[in-house]
Symmetry: C2
């Protein structure tokens, strides 16, 4: 529908559709890459502690304490850190601040919010064709001299680009901003690229508390980059909403970083369950791409992805199917017992 | 500073500066229009109740329950309600969806975030000169045939435009969207204009939980309007961030509306304290504009507003001074004892 009150920008938008958020608890929910384990007890206790009369007051618009803790976590300065209402908001601000009206490039199969931002901010996008099995064409990417957006590990495939390749890319394309979205990085065995922001002024690393910190419900994301980039993000943020992070999100984020050991153990467990699941699905004849994330990208022989999705749903398991991908589905790594249930259903489906 | 990585949109931005958020509790904080009373006990209890393992899960991206409760509160349908991370986010989305690149008008002295949005979304703004004592020029406003943005009551003056005038404006300018920002409406004795959205397809009413629901710390705002307008807002929101309201904000908002009686009593108390303060300041020789909000706009005889601000700060009271207003200051209504303290300091300052 178009209304006479709309501005022209609404004409071409095609919004992002998140995975189903069914409140219905009867499903095993392996469709939106949530962490199967709860946040640490201390995070919960801290939120409760701050749930009081002070909620009448605005939060710190600068989120200073949270940024200080994040800066220390990544070994950078506080003015190298930007925080936002989930990493989607950071991504939106980054597209707006750095890519509006510009040429940019990213792999054709990647986080499907990127094309949405690109439309909203009028970017001209060069979508790079994938190689076989949805692999990123590293050679083609290296040749692009425009702004780049790279999910690393990539979503929904789980592919990890290694540090040396990314450093070469940053070196080779130093006049363009290279945004590396590390939403799933903590599920790899590699370190964040955030520590390279001092050497590479064209590097912006975007991260989230939604996956590895088990706080999707609190909406906390952040970026690490050169202070000029952070200044640019703040120009947009402060022209949009002074207080995107509420009081409880700020204290939850601070406590989560302090409880790093708890989350390291969770992530280790998820990695182990991922490898267990990969092996089991492969034994059933599925093709499973190598994954450095908390999900697997899986081809159930010659079954259409939509049918696989439907079959799992019928059996009480939600997985993610993308309309533009007909062969593979994405399966979030849950608890060991969730994956055992998934494997049992997979056996039925493949029979 | 400008960086080679910036897009052109950063060139002209001049971000909004919120009032000081000093964590220092030694100040009586009458500068950002926060409610001096805590949220209801049930709101606090509800937040604590939902602070648990489910924070690992994304919130409902559609905030269905909260929108249902708001729809019922205003006697409209659920598809007439849009919710966001504070009303600033609703305002940003509305400017983006309806006013991008268009001609719009608003009074010169009003909420100072409007010019910021107008720059971000490239609007051509006709700023209407104020009459004496910062009164809105109702006749000039009635003659404008472009999109209008009206804070009602107006900020920082507190002026209320009456229902009949606004209905005439909606009738008279039916081809333009008229955004009425009711951030402070609950402190007037008038009803929200939200109930007129069925008759006036060009009416968008924006409201917040930050002031009258005492939840500035939780970031909840919303809009009520024709479903085509809400659809347009969702197009932008879903091209920007799927989940701007976290799980705790959603349940806090729901419970606050259910506890309406508690908030009605608070608001009544604030109105009474406002009238007490107005009278006391007038007795000291101040000029105090009529206010239908939780703040007063006050002229301390011939003292410069910046000096008044500084003098109060020295005595431990934070009030709001605007760089572009040299005579009046804005004073938030706190508890009775806060205002008694303010009046004592006012006596000193005026001596």
């Amino acid at each position: 529908m178009m209304s006479k009150y709309y501005s022209d920008i609404l004409k071409d938008l095609s919004p992002y559709t998140p995975g189903e958020q069914l409140n219905d608890k009867k499903y095993i929910k392996l469709n939106t890459n949530e962490n199967p384990y709860p946040p640490s007890d201390k995070v919960i206790t801290t939120i409760k502690e701050y749930s009081g009369g002070d909620l009448r007051l605005y939060p710190d618009p600068e989120s200073l304490e949270l940024r200080k803790v994040l800066a220390s976590h990544h070994g950078v300065d506080i003015d190298n850190v930007f925080v936002s209402n989930g990493s989607d908001e950071t991504l939106a601000f980054a597209f707006n601040a750095f890519y509006t009206g510009k040429k940019i490039a990213y792999p054709k199969v990647t986080y499907s919010f990127y094309p949405v931002y690109a439309k909203l901010y009028n970017c001209q996008v060069d979508e790079l064709d994938m190689l076989d099995d949805y692999e990123i064409d590293k050679k083609a990417l290296m040749e692009k001299k425009v702004g780049l957006v790279i999910a690393n590990p990539n979503a929904p495939t789980g592919e990890l680009l290694d540090k040396d390749y990314l450093l070469a890319l940053l070196e080779n394309n130093s006049n363009s901003l290279i945004l590396i979205d590390e939403a799933y990085m903590d599920f790899s065995q590699e370190e964040s690229m955030a520590k390279y922001i001092k050497e590479y002024k064209n590097l912006l690393v975007v991260r989230t508390f939604s996956k590895s910190y088990s706080l999707a419900g609190m909406r906390i994301g952040y970026a690490v980059g050169d202070k000029e980039l952070i200044f640019g993000l703040n120009l947009v943020k402060n022209s949009f909403n002074s207080y995107p992070l509420d009081r409880l999100a700020q204290v939850a984020g601070i406590q989560a970083i302090k409880d790093q050991a708890y989350y390291d153990a969770l992530n280790k467990e998820i990695i182990s369950t991922r490898e267990y699941t990969k092996k089991a699905l492969e034994e059933l004849g599925c093709k499973v791409l190598p994954s450095a994330s908390n999900f697997l990208f899986v081809k159930f022989k010659d079954l259409a992805s939509f049918k696989v999705y439907e079959d799992f749903k019928k059996e009480g398991i939600l997985i993610r199917q993308f309309s533009y991908i007909s062969d593979y589905v994405r399966i979030t790594i849950g608890k060991k017992e969730d994956m055992e249930a998934l494997i049992e259903v997979a056996k039925e489906i493949l029979r």
